[in-house]
């Protein structure tokens, strides 16, 4: 009983994450969705593709904030957090690309179309994979943290125009391009919202949970190294 209370007090968000992910999968598959031409039932992918992309942006921005914090305070724990957020962001980004590709196959007819949004997403993944390679090629932890943080901030600031300005200037199949807003009233009705907004929170919480475990693991590893 005391344990349950402890969990409810400290780890309620983990329970929430579990519930939300179940909710996304079950409700996402079962609720009534509006009939939209071409998209039809595949609109359910929105709860996976779009919301994973949103939570990826949340994670990568958090990673950026921790990188800035690291440069300000020079504490290695901030760097570890920034690193894990970026890694998890890459995982979600790859999942987002995969689900997007499947969606594209069944609505636009091809696994990959030449589209500014899609290319921007792929380039963003390349940037963060380069970040991983950069980190792996530096031995000294302090140096690695500092250089990694600098590249993280620099890369993020150049990605900004790529992801948010360029796609809006060119015509595109993807919603949110060619001057269109991302979500119009007519393509996001109330039933969809009911699952869509919780799904962003759900994926983000689940990722934060994984990140928390990985950060703890990282801290233990550094402690063991200190003892040796």
């Amino acid at each position: 009983m005391a344990q349950l209370k402890f969990i409810l007090k400290n780890d309620w968000w983990k329970l929430l994450a579990i519930l939300l992910v179940y909710y996304i999968v079950i409700a996402g598959m079962l609720i009534k969705v509006p009939r939209i031409a071409i998209v039809h039932e595949s609109v359910r992918n929105q709860f996976f593709h779009v919301s994973m992309w949103f939570s990826m942006m949340i994670l990568l921005t958090t990673s950026l904030i921790y990188s800035i914090k690291y440069l300000g305070k020079s504490k290695l724990k901030f760097d570890l957090i920034a690193e894990e957020f970026a890694y998890m962001g890459i995982v979600l980004g790859i999942l987002g690309l995969t689900t997007g590709s499947i969606w594209a196959r069944f609505t636009w007819g091809a696994w990959w179309v030449n589209d500014p949004k899609l290319n921007g997403a792929a380039i963003a993944m390349l940037v963060y994979l380069a970040y991983v390679i950069l980190r792996n090629s530096i031995e000294d932890p302090v140096q690695r943290a500092r250089i990694g943080a600098v590249y993280n901030i620099f890369a993020w600031s150049t990605l900004l125009p790529l992801l948010y300005i360029l796609p809006r200037l060119t015509d595109s199949l993807h919603p949110g391009s060619g001057g269109n807003p991302g979500f119009n009233i007519y393509d996001l009705d109330n039933n969809l919202r009911l699952v869509f907004y919780p799904s962003i929170i759900g994926w983000t919480l689940l990722s934060v949970w994984i990140i928390q475990l990985r950060v703890r693991l990282g801290n233990i590893k550094t402690k063991i190294e200190e003892i040796d």
């Binding site: 963003a124 940037v127 390679i133 950069l134 090629s137 250089i147």
Partner: protein, 222 residues
């Protein structure tokens, strides 16, 4: 104060480059051989390039040459020079001077490349002044991104290949805009159609230069 320091550093950089002419000659030879290779490779299949191919090929050649030219700005710096610069100059002055020097270098490479490329592969550009403005802005952007990445890569092992891996995704937004403006200049469209893109190019340059100047002192210190 900063301005004077930057001026001195740019001058010093140019002087060293002038005395060790092999570096700049190497880059020019690289540029010319790549253009010649492209010329011979295309010549065997078609006569005359489609303007779009001409455009893309030109910018890819310039991009690769630029990566090669700028890589050395921090990666090949000897330990002695680093310590010397460290003691005499402010990190902000160092990064700004390197960016200015590399911009001038890349503008020079771009113009020489353009002339030689036009000689062997023809020149479909109708609005040359727009093309040159685009080249100048683009070179400044390339120089800023590549200088900064050279600084980052110089701190890691296997730097030269890392330099390419780090730079290409970061430079892509710039490259896309540059190719688009350049396409307008080839088609001879009125400059009013390119204003939007020119402003975006300029603002990307400003973002990159500012981010580089703020972040460089952190790399330099380590």
């Amino acid at each position: 104060m900063l301005f004077k320091e930057v001026k001195e550093l740019v001058f010093q950089e140019a002087l060293i480059e002038w005395r060790l002419r092999y570096a700049i000659n190497g880059i020019l030879l690289y540029l010319i051989s790549v253009i010649f290779i492209c010329y011979l490779s295309f010549k065997t299949q078609v006569s005359g390039l489609h303007p779009n191919t001409w455009n893309t090929l030109f910018w890819i050649i310039i991009l690769f040459t630029a990566v090669n030219a700028v890589t050395k700005s921090f990666i090949q710096l000897s330990q002695g020079r680093i310590i010397y610069l460290y003691t005499i100059a402010n990190p902000l002055a160092i990064i700004i001077s390197k960016m200015i020097y590399n911009s001038i270098l890349l503008i020079g490479i771009g113009i020489i490349g353009f002339i030689f490329y036009s000689i062997v592969l023809g020149n479909p550009v109708q609005d040359t002044s727009l093309f040159l403005i685009n080249m100048i802005l683009g070179s400044i952007g390339f120089a800023a991104v590549l200088t900064m990445n050279s600084g980052i890569a110089s701190k890691a092992s296997n730097s030269p290949s890392l330099m390419a891996v780090l730079s290409f995704p970061v430079i892509l937004p710039l490259l896309l805009i540059i190719i688009r403006i350049s396409k307008h200049s080839i088609e001879g469209l009125d400059i009013s159609t390119s204003w939007n893109n020119l402003i975006i190019l300029l603002s990307i340059n400003i973002i990159v230069i500012t981010a580089g100047s703020i972040l460089f002192p952190f790399i330099w210190r380590s």
